[in-house]
Symmetry: C2
Subunit: 422 residues, 2 copies
């Protein structure tokens, strides 16, 4: 059973995702798909629209066979560690033969050459990055400028001209860097994205819109049907069900009491103990509070935003405060050791076959719930990450207005979702 | 200007309080009244019904001349440190000649004799307390049993028979212990309370009911008028105004999202870092969450309650979590040093005269807002306590649904309330 791995958020699962899934299967000749999916908080630092079980269901009914969870410290990280966690987990299953990601370029060869240079981290690359940062560039900008310079210096003008700034090219590069560093044997593939504009916010004509655009449509129009023409029927089904149950859509407004409470409660020194906060951001946050017109997270982010502190970075910082992800949880050593378990969120009958093979093949313990973590020898960082995942679920359930207090600990008792072909 | 000090919560200011005020003035022959009042969180560990400025207004319109704030670490403590903070502040004003508290007994002589023994902390007393605690008694029970034994052993059978268990007798005893320890020159007085039952929860006939009963009436009936016959007109005025503005009544339900968020977010180890948590309570709290039927603080407390962990102790523990009052903030050394400022909440013209005299007479810096704390030389614990007071205001304002974000930092800019005779 040839198996392809994909790295997803599915927030929500839309026609572009379905296209990517189908193409991934086609170009790799795969029989089964393993998806590593972020849980309740996402790479841009935002809460997910629907909970991770609902989103896993859309994945499984939409074409994936096994959904495993990317632990929250990786899921809410910038590209480097997001990629490390995701590629590392796919590799650790022991059953994924290849992985396939979307990119603006669709050019795997150029990406591999850039990744080889980047993974080696030569001295001139490190020096150029430092220069860019001290000149006030954001990390992604400093990084791509430095890469470009070093590639040109090595005579690879094609790679030097590669449009690294495009967000999915960058992410793809980091998948390949992680893949190199992990020494993974999975074959990498990339597919050109049908619609480049991840950042486009208006609903375009046709059947494909970015997830960002879909979220804006959902919150703007206030009903699930707003996205009907851009998503497979399964997404509308699940979103409607979650909406009617009062569990979706979740956004910053649902978390604002908790977040502002913490920002008032924590002193600047304590704030500086959380991931992505420091260099004075802790003071800027505290000073921003009385300057707000309304108590809204979006307004806070708007006030704090600068060239250096992008919206994404600020959202990641606020998520760290909300979940209690400390700087200490995010040391490189912890991030390497935290990849200590494979948490299964759901599977199809084919996925169950994969799980059987994983009993022997997997390089890490396979957990069907967070309760499985006890006695699984996860190590300090692994146990901590599993606890952070469970916390994220509790925090998310509260934000989603869970009436049943058992929902706060759902990670410990919820078995994986099983989806059978209808 | 002979001045009497009183120690109050005024949650809300009722006819019994007014009677106590009038009697305090009468028996001491005072011309002016200084009240030390708890801020947004109270001795039983609960949030106040209305904010501290609204309650200070009822105090000033009801007969007090100067209202100063008891910092939150004392205000939410058991009798010993509550009393230390309150008596210490009255003493530190330098203008209070005497203080007067209500008690079930009304017998100042017996209380003074007991206080003398207790303040000395002889070895036999300490031993008896330890025995009581290890036999499973709550601290207040162990303490009063030990005192009784030691008084009898010293032949003071009258004091040994004193009904110490009654809550206001206990509190009064601690006022006198603090007074002795502080070496204060203020004369102590006590008045017999007109209505003994602090704990009585039903609305009695007549014009006097306990504050507990009044809070139940307010929440139970859902309108300010429910307490009209038990409170002076000023209380109804202010409560109505706060109610209409959406700022009152505040109770645990208004804080539940924030509190449950923290309980989910904090690991057991972190929980154990807060005041009043430890000895396994941190684990019991975490285990109680999934056992709840509904996400309500009252239900959580009901589940956790035991003979040893009384409702009051549990509420104090939860308040510590909510505000971030750590064990470290509550060391005896910190509690002694934290009495470092006199925060003025409001005054009448007569209170303004007192403030003028305090410029020379006060033993601590007099602050008209938390902003005055900078450069006032408060020391480490004092600065921390002032910050905790300001935090409590922010937390409370959020719970009260403040629309204006400036309300979160109101401690820093709100000047004292000035009430002129109408």
């Amino acid at each position: 059973m040839r198996t392809v791995g994909v790295i997803v958020e599915y927030n929500p699962f839309h026609n572009g995702h379905r296209h990517h899934l189908e193409e991934s299967v086609r170009v790799t000749g795969a029989d089964a798909v393993v998806a590593v999916m972020s849980g309740h908080f996402l790479q841009r630092g935002e809460p997910a629209l629907m909970d991770k079980w609902a989103r896993a269901e859309t994945a499984l009914r939409g074409g994936c066979d096994l959904v495993i969870e990317l632990p929250v410290p990786y899921a809410t990280s910038a590209a480097e560690w997001f990629a490390y966690g995701a590629v590392g987990l796919l590799d650790a299953t022991g059953v994924v033969d290849c992985f396939c990601f979307g990119s603006e370029s669709g050019d795997i060869d150029a990406l591999r050459r850039i990744a080889e240079l980047a993974a080696d981290e030569p001295a001139d690359l490190r020096g150029r990055i430092a220069e860019g940062l001290s000149a006030g560039l954001s990390f992604p900008d400093a990084y791509s400028a430095a890469l470009r310079f070093c590639l040109a210096a090595r005579g690879d003008s094609e790679a030097a001209a590669f449009p690294l700034e495009q967000p999915n090219n960058t992410l793809g590069l980091h998948y390949l860097i992680a893949w190199k560093r992990l020494g993974s044997r999975m074959e990498p593939h990339t597919i050109r994205r049908v619609q480049a504009g991840y950042h486009d916010a208006d609903a375009p004509a046709g059947s494909i819109a970015s997830a960002t655009a879909l979220r804006r449509l959902i919150f703007g129009r206030g009903r699930p049907e707003a996205i009907a023409s851009y998503v497979p029927p399964v997404t509308l089904d699940v979103l409607r069900r979650e909406w009617e149950a009062g569990r979706a859509p979740v956004g910053w407004p649902a978390l604002k009491e908790q977040l502002f409470h913490l920002l008032v409660r924590l002193g600047a020194e304590e704030l500086a103990g959380y991931r992505d906060i420091g260099e004075g951001l802790e003071h800027r946050i505290r000073r921003a509070l009385p300057a707000l017109e309304r108590l809204e997270v979006d307004e806070l982010i708007g006030l704090l935003k600068t060239k250096r502190y992008t919206r994404t970075r600020l959202q990641r910082a606020l998520t760290a405060v909300l979940l209690g992800i400390r700087k200490d949880d995010w040391r490189p050593a912890a991030l390497r050791e935290g990849l200590a378990y494979i948490r299964v969120l759901g599977f199809t009958p084919k996925g169950q076959e994969l799980l059987k093979r994983m009993r022997k093949a997997a390089k890490l313990p396979v957990l069907l719930s967070a309760a499985g973590g006890e006695g699984a020898g996860l190590g300090c960082a692994g146990a901590r990450y599993l606890e952070l995942d469970a916390r994220a679920t509790g925090v998310y359930a509260l934000a989603a207005g869970a009436a049943d207090p058992r929902a706060l600990l759902r990670d410990y008792y919820e078995p994986p979702i099983i989806v059978r072909p209808s």
